[in-house]
Symmetry: C2
Subunit: 305 residues, 2 copies
Amino acid sequence: MMNAIIFGTIAFDAIETPYAKTDKIIGGSGTYSCFSASYFVQPQTISAVGYDFPAEYIQKLQDKGVDIEGMQIKQDEKSMFWACRYHANMNQRETLVTELNVVEKFKPVLPESYKNTEYIMLGNGDPTLQRSILEQLNHKPKFVALDTMNFWMDTMLDELKKTIAMVDIIIINDEEAIQLSEGEHCLSKAARKICAMGPQYVIIKKGEHGALLFSKDKVFSAPALPLEEVVDPTGAGDTFAGAFIGYIAQQDATDFETMKTAVIVASAMASFTVEKMGTEALENLSADQIKNRILKFKELSDFKL
Amino acid sequence: MMNAIIFGTIAFDAIETPYAKTDKIIGGSGTYSCFSASYFVQPQTISAVGYDFPAEYIQKLQDKGVDIEGMQIKQDEKSMFWACRYHANMNQRETLVTELNVVEKFKPVLPESYKNTEYIMLGNGDPTLQRSILEQLNHKPKFVALDTMNFWMDTMLDELKKTIAMVDIIIINDEEAIQLSEGEHCLSKAARKICAMGPQYVIIKKGEHGALLFSKDKVFSAPALPLEEVVDPTGAGDTFAGAFIGYIAQQDATDFETMKTAVIVASAMASFTVEKMGTEALENLSADQIKNRILKFKELSDFKL
């Protein structure tokens, strides 16, 4: 089975929606991405947790086939904790608590066994840390995907640009694309500006309006499944990212056609995540469920000429 | 050649964008819809103009093959005139002038030659007038499409609902769908509520995010072509409506598959309209241009599994 390195937090989440509320559950971008990628490849996590992280949560990751050699377990620190509350129609999210704890001083260290991995997902985080992962590899990898957010554009734009120059694809939302392109509201122009910073491809996620995939000279529009009920949007983007790198690594191909299908597969996986609280939906999918969901995207967008 | 009745205003428009400004040019929803439909069928206009409407504009319609028997030319009234200004990114439009003139007291009268037409586009307008067209037909037509807007929901909701109950499809934008469904922000739920009012199908246009087509149990997502330059958005919706009914009438079929392709054809035609000022782009398209634009939509949304 192919491997994919997944850099992203493994943490405690507490989620509150108008209809439900969780205790401290397993969460973090790395968790969603690893669970999601696990349906396609063996994910190799790069993360850190504290002494308070339950063995059963680590077992959950291992049960999904996640290689945890790159997970640092710090005996003198607490795990990261994030709490949020969603309002009315789930479009607005309020962060209630962010305790970085173990993540604050975390320096990623690649185990020897990760250093030849060809497919890498750099989840949202400090761009210097994202870059340090690439620098620890034994070789130039086949494909590196990058997620980032406004915070890093506001506070570390120069560092972020250095990291962007090293990756093959950047996966961001429409607002982030506008900001990164210095205010370009036309998304195809924004994508062109971002491609000029280095990446071969850009994915711009538009939430309920689907996603656009751009190369220097091509564009693909992926629809969003019109969902009747969104139970919990947490982790949808991280699920997308994990499935995306997982599918690419499984196919071991980086051409535009493969990217297109990967966007659909990633959208399908994200559509599961939002149907249940936390990682619940993502923990127990069958191959048939995934296949049928992907077919729904085909049905949704296919037409005869 | 098949016919399609097009009910919609034929008028003077004056358009101002940050980059260009027109004099009084030919405009109105009926003009855009007729020009657009003319590439697929013979449009039969139901409209009224005044003594001041230039013969060369009537000739333009006839040159596109529009049957003008249902156009009333009122010698004692002036033509409708509408002026608007677009701001910065073309998303905001300010109406500067609306002189209804001849349209104010207009009562549609169907010529005998229209009374057996099977495909009908009821452009945005007073729902009692829209209904009066259906009542003048010799028969129950094969397919009636309806466009409407917030104004009629605000002022004549009961009349509008009576008209909606008589049509096969309603073509509206997302805001209008939310209002018509009494505040349902989930578009698939909104569509279901609207279907329950009578129509077999609902199209919800989302501007730069494409369009959704719903039947009672199916859904289709049409992408929007990512355009780099929108010169003038005027008439895009009317172009969509005209091409939609034109394609359906040309195919002489009303199944869901035909609706899907019609949404793509309609989106393709609308994408031409916004590339030039007024009706200019729509007046001189070749069959090859249209075919290639439709193929672009296929390329944009097609993926391999």
